[in-house]
């Protein structure tokens, strides 16, 4: 994702809010706008509006200002939790131990012990991850970890 100026950042935030707010009860946190590092967090509990929560969509992003004053994405965590099945699928980009900036996935399914703590993944945007997650939820499909390759992280 290219760096975002203030207006583009707020537009993207508004788009994400509109999408998640149509899915479930939404909480948003935006911290650090006045400084050089910023955290954006979204938590949507679906279906919301008085019904028992079936799924959680937790998205967090951390940004740092670049030389032009725009916001550059430094790391992210995009998590989908299927509460009904006790399963989780997540796409992350952050440091793991001494390794910086590791793009990876997490996958937990109750009927299969995790083959690894981390799986290989490619970089993706929040809305790309969300599209995959929400399709699983809407189609009532279980999270399937079998197609993922373990990532060895020393």
């Amino acid at each position: 994702m290219r760096s975002l100026g203030e207006h583009a950042f707020e537009q993207r935030k508004a788009t994400i809010i509109a999408v998640l707010d149509s899915l479930g009860d939404l909480e948003v946190e935006d911290a650090g706008k006045a400084g050089s590092r910023r955290h954006l967090g979204f938590r949507a509990e679906a279906p919301g509006s008085g019904l028992s929560t079936e799924a959680l969509f937790r998205y967090e992003e951390w940004f740092r200002r670049d030389g032009a004053g725009a916001w550059a994405l430094a790391k992210y965590q995009y998590d989908y939790v299927d509460l009904g099945r006790g399963a989780r699928l997540a796409y992350h980009r952050h440091a793991i131990g001494p390794l910086s900036d590791v793009i990876h996935a997490h996958c937990e399914a109750p009927d299969r012990p995790p083959a690894a703590d981390h799986f290989r993944a490619y970089e993706l945007d929040l809305l790309e991850a969300h599209e995959e997650f929400v399709r699983l939820y809407a189609a009532e499909e279980p999270i399937d970890c079998r197609g993922l390759r373990p990532l060895a992280v020393e």
Partner: protein, 90 residues
């Protein structure tokens, strides 16, 4: 007061609730007026909350948005893993 108990609805179901033709609901979706998850070329699933926002917007609590512009944000910490919530049985 709408009594919606399912997490998702089809365009036909929403059309019946709204008292309009299903094509109207599809038009709303394509115009971005109604959020829907597209499962295939012809299959949409509309979240309950989106249905409520369309038919009874006064009943929907707006998102809670908090801002801390002066907060000092840490970037250097690594994993922010949170434990997976245990399954919730209805």
């Amino acid at each position: 007061m709408l009594d919606l108990t399912k997490p998702f609805y089809s365009p036909a179901e929403v059309a019946e609730l709204a008292g309009v033709h299903p094509s109207t609901i599809l038009n709303y979706i394509h115009a971005g007026r109604l959020y829907a998850v597209r499962l295939s070329e012809r299959t949409y699933r509309i979240p309950r909350r989106a249905v409520l926002k369309l038919l009874a917007p006064e009943s929907v609590r707006p998102p809670r948005i908090v801002e801390f512009p002066e907060a000092d944000v840490e970037l250097e910490t690594g994993d922010h893993e949170q434990p997976t919530p245990r399954a919730v049985r209805a």
